[in-house]
């Protein structure tokens, strides 16, 4: 599994956007280490800068202050070691599923035959064998998101960043895909950072959960999740997971600001499931 080569080190990270001429501080003094080959979850109120944090780690946005390094090498732009899954699938609507998955390989100049083979393998990995020639418009929300996941995985990144990847899906699909993420992680051993609004999801997936405060986002708690692996929803240790969930909720309520109640946290976001 992971070595220290793939850990993510964030030091003294601050970022502000300028909105209508005035600076809007979004992240402040973030110091974090995401250990190699582990799953870290980031939770925080809406607007606390979670997506901004991921965009900075992915090299899509230069931070105002501080530095991000992967395996000791500073991130200065989109990095081939990093795969990113967005909140929406962001598929190219004129390409079929296979060509969407093959897209990063095409950009990297991989030959047609090889990239189609590799893309097909990753489509299979996310359980979409036989859907290679389907267009994004013909896929369900969950299937499209899995194509997005396959596209992030196809270059075999050592670091996988997931920004509320299943937030728009119904709870059942989300649970199912979360279990798939763990299965993939078992196989690939990547360093995973997942941003989520769902405390149960964070507990289920992560080795530790980072809690951010309301904007400007600061780290207010870093809560280890001591659940045995491999995990599945069926065998989940209810008592231990409830303990972790409570610790996260407490941290959020003390410092983070309001989150949805325990039952709401697993409900689909109304109207946003496509």
């Amino acid at each position: 599994m992971g070595t220290t080569l793939d850990d993510i080190t964030i030091t003294g990270l601050s970022h502000a956007f300028s909105v209508a001429g005035a600076p809007l501080p979004v992240l402040e003094g973030i110091d974090l280490v995401m250990p190699a080959g582990r799953v870290s979850a980031v939770v925080g109120p809406s607007g606390s800068g979670k997506s901004t944090l991921l965009r900075i780690v992915a090299g899509l946005l230069p931070a105002d202050e501080g530095r991000v390094a992967i395996g000791g090498r500073r991130v200065v732009g989109p990095d081939p070691r990093v795969g990113l899954v967005f909140q929406e699938p962001r598929l190219l609507p004129w390409r079929d599923a296979l060509d969407n998955v093959a897209y990063p390989l095409e950009l990297a100049g991989v030959g047609r035959e090889e990239r189609r083979d590799r893309a097909a393998a990753f489509l299979e990995l996310v359980g979409l064998t036989g859907f290679g020639s389907a267009l994004p418009g013909q896929l369900s929300g969950g299937m499209a998101q899995r194509v997005g996941l396959a596209r992030a995985l196809v270059q075999e990144p050592r670091v996988l960043l997931l920004d509320e990847p299943f937030g728009a899906l119904d709870a059942l699909t989300r649970d199912h895909l979360d279990a798939e993420i763990l299965r993939l992680w078992d196989r690939l051993g990547a360093t995973i950072v997942i941003v989520t609004h769902s405390i149960p999801e964070a507990v289920f997936l992560a080795d530790r959960v980072v809690v951010l405060s309301a904007r400007p986002g600061r780290v207010v708690a870093d809560i280890p999740v001591e659940l045995p692996r491999p995990r599945s929803w069926a065998t989940l240790d209810e008592a231990a997971s409830t303990r972790s969930a409570r610790a996260i909720r407490d941290a959020l309520e003390r410092r983070g600001g309001p989150l949805p109640g325990p039952s709401d946290a697993r409900l689909p976001v109304t109207g946003s499931a496509a």
Partner: protein, 277 residues
Amino acid sequence: MTTRADEQPATTAAAPRRGRAAGMSHLLRDVAAIAGVGLLLALVWQAIVWVGGYQPFFLPGPLVVLQRWQTAIVAGTLTPHLLTTLTEILLGLAVGISSALVIGFLLARSVSAERLLSPWIVAAQATPILALAPLIVIWFGSGLLSKVLICALICFFPMTVATTVGLRSVDPRLLEMGRSVRATRRQLLTTIELPAALPQVMGGLKVSVTLAVVGAIVAEWVGGERGLGVLINLARGSLFDTPLLFATLLTIALVGVVLYLVVVLLERRLLGARASG
């Protein structure tokens, strides 16, 4: 036209070959329907001529026109004019469209370019082509060049607007996705921006080809020795041959329809597999 392609997204994606065949049979059905309507119009037209008892120099019936059309083709009256006009249209389209693509791209890319250029482009478009054409003929002579310029000018504006709007309509989130998988600027353009702009560009192209026909005729009216516009003038003025005038008009309309159909076919080829929305 697009709705027809959208009717069967599953077919087009799962079996592109069958999808294309279905597209062709759709096209045949379209052509048959159009021909049927044409026949109906011809009947009404003939009825009007009979009931009104009009002379052919005032309103020739469809049969007279068809006959005149045929003799004009056989006698070689029509073809040289048609070829001249087609050359003007195609060259004008090539010049107009390629410059519109370049300028449209610049306008989409740079706000300052848009501020600087768009008032002039709009002004050029707002000036009636009929008023500009004589000037262009004075400056560039009454040969092919001025015709090509007038054709190019008339389709430049819609094509530029279509290109700019198309490129601007690209979802920034798709561009961010492209950046996240390390697309270069050039790759972003070729794999995301251009394909995303294609529907609008094709729309602009449809408008442009029909306008280019108008441009060629206007240009030939203003000054020229050959072309369908010249033939109209001849038929009306010195020859006093109204059936020939009609035959020429029909030829012009046919040129427009054929060009339009070519664009529709091109569009289906390029966008056929794309799901709606």
